[in-house]
Subunit: 221 residues, 4 copies
């Protein structure tokens, strides 16, 4: 039996604090990524010779930093977008959001591993699974909040709700599909992730085209 | 003699800043937990052989991360809930809150120790004491604020105030009770912590059942 | 010649963002302190024997953590209090605040050194100087903002403005006075810092006593 | 074809959250700088002899900390200023801002390298390029937002918009110009960065002088 607390959604200041806390976790996780980019200690008398090599050796870590920064950034933007429509919260939404934030806070781990051992298939798969789970949890957040307009703006059309759900599922879909690809070739597995960019654009175009034909009101945008 | 400052509670922007600062400390402490999950440096020529072992060796750290993330998350939710009812603050509340935040900021230490040496009784006890103290300080926050409705919404019923106090005491109670259990067996001591989940559900059901019978007004919810 | 920008104080959203940014730096600096409390790597076969020793060896770091947490916490509370009265900002206030925040962000360094080498006079002095400078910068913030009521609530009495200035100067006064004391004995130098507690209480009592006699209006409190 | 989403700017709570997230990334990056200032582990029996040397060896790291703190602080103030005029956002602004924040989050890397190997020309150039890119991205943010008053206060004069653009370009201009200087002499390359201070003052004076002559309205200030 759900408790009174879980049954009665709340808004206002409490919701703002939930969003704020989420933003802070995102900001910290995204900024902590940089801690993995570290120049090794060089012997004082060999700095001149070894510095260029050591700097070059940072490139894979820097690439992993950029990749994860962009992916977390994109997840943040989606979270930002979801909470423009979510107008109330309950205990369950808080727990789903907390587990989602845990998956975000975990991202520095697969990022560090990818930055150091990018050539290994296992590593590509660990990264794909970790980041794919983040996306699934974000989709769960939306699915829970939007189910029968439980916690969202009541004017949103079903079509728009489904469009948002699809968008939140795109990254997971691509990360999970990349796993069999990585089993064949770790590097193609990683390149496969780039499909995300055209996928988002395509989805948006499809929705926009469809949308104009139906002339929904602007609130659903 | 209490000073004028301590005697006169204040609300508004100052209270918001206190809550904000607390949220930020929570968010940072919860996200810093991840820094303890570190892959050791592997010798370049032995990566293929050692990587799977090194990854597997991360599991205890990851378990400790998940445990502490959930526990801090639950403490945050309680804090969030308390400050929905706390409507003013004074110098003493700020100090109690600061000491409470110190106990939150400290959590990465017992978490790191637990992640590395989970099998030792001492380690289980250190974790239980540290996290139990966090709960006691949160209960102190509520006890201070709610005493004679000092700093809270004046419409809250005494019954509801006591219910909230009980809730804030549940984690400490279970963490402290786990200490003698751990002295017998460190692993059962840790499993004992899971009792928290049914304990919260039971407490809520008891309150809800009782509550419906008395038909309090909705503000007390 | 001051620029138009420096001459015209601004309030509102911009001020809120300044306060927010400051709070975030405080929260991060205060939480990062914990990163210095680290259990050394123990040899797997010697954990049982060495763990109690290693845990005991954390005590000085934990003491330094508690000390710095309380001191930064007290500086934060003062900052919180100052900005209840500061109602506008200009470019200069932003710069003074930024240098002040730099001194706050630096606190983990003397804290780490104190946690490791507390018995050395040099270390006590480094800590006292670092934390004393923080206090001076906080006093400078108030001195600048309150000069001729430049950026503060115009109803504050001169007496109250001076009282606040005295309060912000107390920590620096005590930290700097502890330097010659530490030169005689490093440990008495550190114990000397405890004078801060009665000093604050005394100052407040003196002000309150005086205040009642003059019956100022409540806004100046 | 731009999507509907990119075409329709939004304001309100969403904009506030964007600003908040940016502030949090700034605050974290600026505070993480301190993690690079680390006393090496000293042998217990040699602390008395080696501590003064070890402390002195921290000076280059502390200088790099101060430099980057001030530079990030100045970039934050500019960001603060830009968003006093930016009144709406769209998907593209969010992406430009995200890439800008990535460049800010990256600053601890060149800072750490500069703190350790300040005498090397390569290091000076890496620092200048990294920090110069931050400035370019900040200018891009303003150029995008202010183009045809896309997302800014419509009352801002073209002259003021150009003045702000020039200000955001000053740091990049100086950092990039310092590169050929550093190729001649790494230390003069670093001293060259100090030109930023008179450059800002000069630009402001020029604008103010010109401004008074034209008597614009106060909103453009």
């Amino acid at each position: 039996m759900p408790s009174a607390e879980a049954r009665e959604p709340e808004g206002g200041m409490g919701l703002e604090r939930l969003v704020f806390f989420s933003d802070a976790v995102f900001a910290i996780a995204i900024t902590l990524l940089v801690l993995e980019i570290r120049l090794p200690e060089l012997e004082p008398e060999r700095v001149a010779a070894e510095l260029p090599i050591a700097l070059k050796a940072l490139i894979p870590s820097i690439s992993a930093f950029i990749l994860s920064f962009v992916v977390i950034g994109a997840y943040w933007m989606t979270h930002h977008r979801l909470f423009r429509f979510i107008q109330a919260y309950d205990a369950r939404l808080m727990w789903i959001n907390l587990v989602f934030l845990m998956s975000i806070a975990f991202v520095p781990v697969p990022t560090a591993i990818l930055g150091r051992y990018a050539d290994y298939t296992t590593v590509t798969i660990i990264y794909a699974v970790s980041l794919g789970v983040v996306g699934l949890l974000e989709a769960a957040l939306w699915a829970y909040a939007s189910y029968h307009h439980r916690l969202i703006n009541s004017q949103l059309s079903d079509r728009f709700i489904r469009y948002i759900l699809l968008r939140t599922l795109v990254p997971s879909l691509i990360f999970f599909t990349s796993i069999p690809v990585a089993l064949a070739d770790a590097n193609i597995g990683k390149e496969f992730w780039l499909i995300m960019i055209p996928a988002f654009i395509l989805l948006r175009l499809l929705y926009s085209a469809n949308h104009s034909a139906q002339s929904n009101n602007s609130i659903t945008e």
